[in-house]
Amino acid sequence: MPAVEVKELVKDFGIFRALQGVSFKVEEGEVFGLVGPNGAGKTTTFRIVVGLLRPTAGEVKVFGMEPGDVRVRRLISYLPEDAGTYRNITGHEFLSMVARLYFGRGRDAEEALELGLKIAGLGEKVHEKMKTYSKGMKRRIQVARALMVKPRLAVLDEPTSGLDVLQAREVRELVKKYAGELGTTVLLSSHNMAEVEELCTRVALIHRGAVLEQGEVGELLAKHGTRNLEELFVKLVGGAGS
């Protein structure tokens, strides 16, 4: 059973059609990338996958279940783009709350918190209010929050958006390391093609609400005779008459 199966997904916002028949499949254990420029429909797709939005048409299954179901929410973690933090509570308190929400007060919760603190790697700063954190630190806390509960599926929307080169690299390393260690399926989006090449095994290139191409990165590059995803995207978009 695939971790995520999206079939002919359509989403309208009033008269604007944000998604026009998006389809892709994410197998369990893989890191799948949804690649495209801003406004391509990545965030809308992810919001439907995690149950925040309802599709206008089409079908989405997460581990064979409807998105938004509380059982599904126990299996997944979602990291929205630019997700903020609570200003007046500490990173430790935040991670502790998340652990309790998933596991109550038992040993599992303690382990999750330990893992979260390890992934965040903020040292003593984790006991300070999150309003004092830099953007990179806030992102580390959010990544820690998303991975510490050992989700079967982590949906990461632009995980390095707005970060500087070093911060972005740190976050990429975290995702790569812990997703691999924990066996988590990752569905991530990015408009940074190099990032996707580094992290993902398979990708779908999305533009104006439609998937232009999808498959293993190496195979796609070979198929279209391009050196990297950026060249491939430009070639496909040009071919699409854009």
Partner: protein, 436 residues
């Protein structure tokens, strides 16, 4: 219901709110401003009282130049006043006042010509007592009462000479005790000051309760708008907790903070009245002490407590709606401002209008609405009594509160919120465009 999750979320909400200066500062201010205001009023009044007591010198312009006017001067001196005689020529009152002011006194007593003749004829003599006001203000002319009383006593004793009547008898000719019986409460007030204090409580307490409710609404609107602004709601809605649990935890956290805020406000109010009550009785009529002595029937007090809790819950839910529909705190505050008038104006009306003015249907409506129920109930519980249908009104208020909480729980959907926010923004844009 996942109680562990509920506790964790409510604790997060409480900590995030109680540590937020935007939430806490108004509470602390309300606790500090009221006693400071009380202290300022008390000290100002005490200064005025001291001035009144210390105003012991009066300038006397004797235009009658008679024995009687000289006796009046000696009378005042015998009563402990210093008397400074002014040289009087053809000068008018303004010139006399200026001359008296130059002598550094604060009162000028002008004895008009014909003073002695009037006393002899048994008619009212003419005098003028001019307060020399250094600065126009509330207590600018406070010191004249003692001199006026002494002058009246002198004139009355002269007029009563040979009649066998004393000034004290004429001044207060009957042993008349003024009492008040408050019919609905069945309480007899022997001290008019207590009734005055009760009247003040009937005015103030409903307004205070309305203010508390507004603070709660503002707080929850801000807190919810911050969730939108910081985009934390999006994450929260994907965690393994139900929307109802998220809502309930928010309400519980806010409720706990609002109770602390209410306690701060109450402490501020009590200190305010305590400071006023410490003033001389003649000036304040002891409203503070009277307030503290008010007895509200146990049932009425219990009703008020439950009604206030429901009202706070309702206002918190209302604030959540405002905050949820606002993309940021600025918009939430802009919306909450005018909305608060819907609470504040009825509260003022309830506080100041007599109950008959509300009419049976108006009164029933105000009792049925969770927003106005504790306000009108407080007025009735203190000033008269609760209506027999009070428990039924409480049930209606409970139903309305549950309905609003249910509506808010339905609102906790990113899809619906985005749609509503978009529609509201469009309406606001069209409104701004139409105004140009």
């Amino acid at each position: 219901m996942n109680f562990e999750a509920l506790k964790a979320l409510a604790a997060k909400e409480f900590k995030d709110l109680i540590r937020d200066p935007r939430i806490v500062v108004p509470f602390v201010l309300s606790a500090v401003v009221m006693p400071v205001a009380g202290l300022l009023i008390a000290s100002t009044m005490q200064v005025a009282v001291r001035q009144a007591i210390e105003t012991r010198t009066v300038a006397l312009a004797d235009l009658d130049r008679s024995n009687a006017s000289q006796q009046l001067a000696r009378w005042l001196e015998s009563k402990g006043f210093g008397v400074t005689l002014l040289e009087v020529g053809e000068t008018g009152e303004a010139e006399l006042a200026r001359e008296a002011a130059d002598r550094g006194v604060q009162l000028l007593l002008v004895v008009e010509p014909g003073f002695e003749q009037a006393l002899r004829s048994g008619v009212k003599p003419k005098l003028k007592l001019v307060a020399l006001v250094k600065e126009v203000g509330m207590f600018g002319a406070l010191g004249s009462a003692a001199v006026a009383e002494a002058v009246r006593e002198f004139v009355a004793s002269k007029l009563l000479e040979g009649s066998g009547l004393s000034y004290e008898l004429v001044r207060d000719p009957a042993e008349l005790r003024e009492l008040a019986y408050v019919i609905p409460k069945g309480v007899l007030f022997s001290n008019p000051a207590l009734l005055a204090g009760l009247s003040m409580a009937v005015l103030l307490i409903p307004i205070i309760l309305a203010s508390v409710a507004l603070v709660v609404m503002q707080m929850s609107a801000t807190a919810m708008a911050v969730e939108n602004e910081e985009r934390t709601l999006e994450t929260l809605l994907t965690l393994p907790v139900s929307r109802f649990e998220i809502l309930l935890s928010k309400l519980l956290g806010m409720f706990a903070v609002s109770l602390i805020g209410t306690a701060f406000e109450m402490v501020g109010m009590l200190l305010y009245f305590y400071l006023l009550a410490s003033l001389p009785a003649a000036l304040t009529q002891q409203p503070g002490q009277a307030m503290l002595q008010i007895a509200v029937a146990p049932f009425d007090a219990a009703f008020l407590a439950v009604s206030l809790l429901l009202s706070l819950l309702f206002m918190a839910a209302l604030g959540l709606i405002v905050g949820a529909l606002s993309r940021d705190v600025r918009i939430a505050n802009t919306v909450a401002g005018p909305l608060s008038m819907l609470v504040y104006l009825p509260a003022m009306f309830i506080a100041f209008a007599p109950s008959e003015a509300l009419g049976p249907s108006g009164s029933a409506l105000l009792y049925a609405l969770p927003v106005t129920q504790p306000v009108i109930a407080a007025k009735d519980a203190i000033g008269s009594s609760l209506p027999p249908a009070a428990p039924a009104y409480l049930a209606v208020s409970l139903a309305a509160t549950i309905a609003v909480v249910y509506a808010v729980s339905k609102l906790f959907s990113l899809e619906l919120l985005s749609e509503l926010q978009h529609k509201l923004s469009s309406v606001a844009r069209r409104g701004r465009g139409g105004g140009r």
